[in-house]
Symmetry: C2
Subunit: 112 residues, 2 copies
DNA sequence: CCTTCTCATCGTATAATTGCAATAACAAAT
DNA sequence: ATTTGTTATTGCAATTATACGATGAGAAGG
């Protein structure tokens, strides 16, 4: 039981859901904002900005990386991260596309 | 261990993360699209559009309702749902605001 | 070489999510 | 009143997410 049925849906839906899931924790949104603010890549400075322990932050970073929203490289003894601008742009484009497909502002709420 | 630290973050971040989490499953995005397409409210017709059993769909509907993205009323023996346009608009506005705060298109990827 | 600093990974514990069968609740129809 | 149709809820199993201490891997500095 409870086997995942997510792959029964269209690829576009899965992609959008994956991106949304990556944004589904405040720490990960905060990480994106920090990376954007600091511009160039950071490593454990991210830890300093969050109320979370270093392994937890590392885990969130990996999830953002798995979702394709950030890039990470090893730079000497440190580890640099930055936003993957193309992917983030693609994500927001998908959200905009979703918004338009929902045809809001058509009328007022017409429930029942 | 593992007690939730989400409330350590700013309310705005939590709100955004909650909305994103609600979009974090393809079935729930599909439900929003169905509700938007059918315009007026539906009930178990949603079930017919998804590869999921009725209780599972009911659960996803409740999560969308808890996130504030849809409204639901009991109409006789049926149950009507519709998009909460104001909330959905607010969600997309928050996403747009996030996008702008990330200052994309500033340069190319400048990782390390 | 040894220490230190930085970060990832492992292991573990708790909580939340996902999924459905079974059942309840309740209106509508016979 | 009994059956039927529709939806929510309950209960359960499996999976995934969240969080951190402990440990490992590797570079930098002494």
């Amino acid at each position: 039981m409870a086997r995942n049925k997510s792959n029964e849906f269209a690829d576009e839906l899965q992609q959008m859901a994956n991106w949304a899931k990556a944004l589904g924790h405040p720490a990960r949104i905060a990480i994106l904002q920090t990376l954007a603010e600091k511009g160039t890549c950071i490593c454990g400075d991210v830890v300093a900005t969050l109320p979370l322990a270093q392994p937890t932050v590392s885990q969130h970073l990996r999830e953002l990386k798995d979702a394709g929203l950030i890039q990470g490289e090893i730079e000497g003894s440190k580890s640099c991260y930055c936003i993957d601008q193309e992917q983030v742009k693609a994500m927001f484009a998908a959200f905009t596309s979703l918004k338009e497909s929902l045809h809001l502002e058509r009328t007022l709420n017409n429930c029942c």
